[in-house]
Symmetry: D2
Subunit: 280 residues, 4 copies
Amino acid sequence: MRKFILLFQCLDQKGIVARISDFILKHGGNIVAADQYSTDPEGGYFFMRVEFILTKEQHNKDFLTEEFSATGREFSAQWKIIDKSQTLRMGIFVSEDDHCLIDLLYLCMSGELNVKIPFVLSNNEKHRKLLSQHNIPFHYVPASKENRREAELLSYALDSTDFLVLARYMLVLSPEFLRKYNKDIINIHHGFLPAFKGADPFGQALKQGVKVIGATAHFVNDKLDEGPIISQEVEHVSHKDNRQSLIRKGRNLEKKALANAILSYIDYRIIRHENKTIVF
Amino acid sequence: MRKFILLFQCLDQKGIVARISDFILKHGGNIVAADQYSTDPEGGYFFMRVEFILTKEQHNKDFLTEEFSATGREFSAQWKIIDKSQTLRMGIFVSEDDHCLIDLLYLCMSGELNVKIPFVLSNNEKHRKLLSQHNIPFHYVPASKENRREAELLSYALDSTDFLVLARYMLVLSPEFLRKYNKDIINIHHGFLPAFKGADPFGQALKQGVKVIGATAHFVNDKLDEGPIISQEVEHVSHKDNRQSLIRKGRNLEKKALANAILSYIDYRIIRHENKTIVF
Amino acid sequence: MRKFILLFQCLDQKGIVARISDFILKHGGNIVAADQYSTDPEGGYFFMRVEFILTKEQHNKDFLTEEFSATGREFSAQWKIIDKSQTLRMGIFVSEDDHCLIDLLYLCMSGELNVKIPFVLSNNEKHRKLLSQHNIPFHYVPASKENRREAELLSYALDSTDFLVLARYMLVLSPEFLRKYNKDIINIHHGFLPAFKGADPFGQALKQGVKVIGATAHFVNDKLDEGPIISQEVEHVSHKDNRQSLIRKGRNLEKKALANAILSYIDYRIIRHENKTIVF
Amino acid sequence: MRKFILLFQCLDQKGIVARISDFILKHGGNIVAADQYSTDPEGGYFFMRVEFILTKEQHNKDFLTEEFSATGREFSAQWKIIDKSQTLRMGIFVSEDDHCLIDLLYLCMSGELNVKIPFVLSNNEKHRKLLSQHNIPFHYVPASKENRREAELLSYALDSTDFLVLARYMLVLSPEFLRKYNKDIINIHHGFLPAFKGADPFGQALKQGVKVIGATAHFVNDKLDEGPIISQEVEHVSHKDNRQSLIRKGRNLEKKALANAILSYIDYRIIRHENKTIVF
């Protein structure tokens, strides 16, 4: 018994669900979960995620992909079939702050976050001991604003990872890096985007006297802190909060927003569309 | 162009989605939204809500019901097809507190809550003026703990309503009333069920010194405050809160929980199952 | 028995609390509630709000103000003594959307919001009937972007109100109006400031694909949507939310943020300081 | 320069604040923060927490306690003066689940939680390695329902700790243990008390179909899960949540509620009163 996921998107038109469910039925499958969304029920863009179980040995991903391709063409769709038994490889970049890193390691250890971590990479050596305790390779790359050492970053990440997580990595990745890496990168921003972009969002929050702070997990694109938002968490604050307490409250928000984003991502619940996300 | 909703539930088995989507396609329909849920992906109980558009004149509810009945039998399903153009008739019972009543009237007026209100019934005359301003019939029934006048209540509600809302109606309806009315009744309880059942939940909250209060919208069944929960809202409180401020905060929670429950209900997003609800 | 409030602020220094509490004791008073805050415990700016009860007839506001003035001078403080029995007069400006207006009227009626409403003023005639039902004077002023009729607004507001509430009034008040009115004005903005300033915050939220929306109550100053924030409310949203559902969710946030701000304001719990607020 | 805290409670009466602030002034002190609360402003029970700075060498805790004792007697108060430079010793009991333990260790390491941890004690050996990595003594005590080994627990905890934290310790401590230990014990309960007392709150939540789950940090007393509540956290759930996802969401709530409770506790912000807490 194997689990597969079909991600499917195209211009909305009649008969999509019928065709997809028929395809699964014909291969002896059972739909476990199905989500769909249309930007406009009377003629927009259609998105679907179907999770299904197949029982026959020969039904592997390549076979199904071959079988489904005619249907995909017919609807002029973008689509992908994923074998759920394959574990994704998640590379982690981190600078000094380690709360998100520690939370992710815990979630992996406890089995809640089912990924392989090929390495953790940092421009701060302090994490070496922690990673050795977890038996995870640690790469120290003394990147800085002056020298981002992106070739080195890329050499570690390119082949060994399916996606990257910036778990409070404080250097901006260049458009060139993004283009060469060419896979998804998830960043956690310690502020409520689109407010408080860039450096020191807590300082900005204090200066503005806001009564709510937030954290935002988003895909990285070539505009700073403007990639598609995946998840956001918020909490009330008051005049009594100082930088220290904002940082403490912010850490919980960042951990939660980032973990939720990654959990959705590795379960293929996120579809990117026009600089926004559909999160099933 | 007409919108329909199919609600469907049965033991999980292969091919349900294929058959349903095929049925819609065959009648020239387009699926606008579909939600499904299974209590256990490997063999539990299956629930589905499909919203679809048909364009042919002759496709009315009776015709579709007739057409679908063989399929329903085949899966031994409970199912129902609803014509979305039909507006439900919502009777309101209320005692003294009028915050939920006023909120519901506002939501109707503003078009957010698409129901007909055949009457508001109360054991308190104070609401007469308000209802006359809204041109909604008002029935004053001096019901009390000693004499609940349920025959009178029933005479108003039975034929003129599709469902009832107890918008802070403080008398318990008897099992006999429920049996005779035999349609859905939604109640708002001013506490976080299953804690704080029964009378004076704010007094109970104060006595226990809780740091969070809540409100619960639920279907009424023959056990006091134990019917299936539809929606719950919560808010932090502190030692500074007294009865008056709890009541004020509670009112906002009650309005929100009740409005959300009714909005889901009239959009046929709620399925009752084993004293719980699935809310799509 | 009469209740008074002392609001007091000065550079932090020794002995402030001792002197203030001594002053109250000397006049036979009892402190009911006291809040204090210092921007920096080791030498910043100090703020205090003390609520106290006096029992002697002759202890009125003028007498206490006279008695306290030497102490105020000694600390070079800004301060004010308020007689809590005086009810504030709150003028309301509103454009088309009436959800905040209706909520404020309800809170007044139910006794939760203890203010006098000398008038409601709108550039939309639709509210006339509602106000007449509440026996509150209604001024229709057909102000528009082209002609804001601020002289007319001012003629209504200047002498008859202690403060103004913009309960979804969609025209910007000019710096000149603010200067001439010269009392506090509270606005509700239907977005999470400092993000989404200006027009159509819901459109901005949809375009950005945010996962949380908010509402912000703030004092009006001469920069659009940049006055000191008093209270903010937030709620999670998803890709499923469209403009209509954002508006519906936003309304609840706006009502709550505005009501909380006004309740704090009329209880003299808000101190403005450097474009921020301390809300005790 | 030294920081002290005075905790003070008595029947409400005139002149308390004046006397206390005068006492601090006379010793050359400066009040850094002050909170007060009265159960009934017109004659209830009065609570105060004052944090102040003294600069003279000889002003130690014993001296101040001696100096203040006459004032305390005069008001028939319960009171205590605390030297803020003293770090509290927090013993931790834990069973199998380690998420709260790991969070507390992180908060200590990062300096956010300023306590000494003399030991972690568990009836599960799995934590030994983790604690050795943190250089914290680990005591394995194979306690079980049949044999709680409370004498052994007590021998570890009695002299070496100022308070205990049950960070998911799944055995109930007997009234005799509580009497002999006779200091504060903080427990985290993985449910929204007073609902879902006792074992398996997630199972109870699933069975009831609640739409919100919670976690509760509370002081332990001799009634199971009925001690004074310190902090509660809540989160929305839906029919889609299963036991596993409830556990995952619950963990975040438990970590947050417990950390907040301990942070308040070690800053002496919690006053217990009549099975409730005042948390300044």
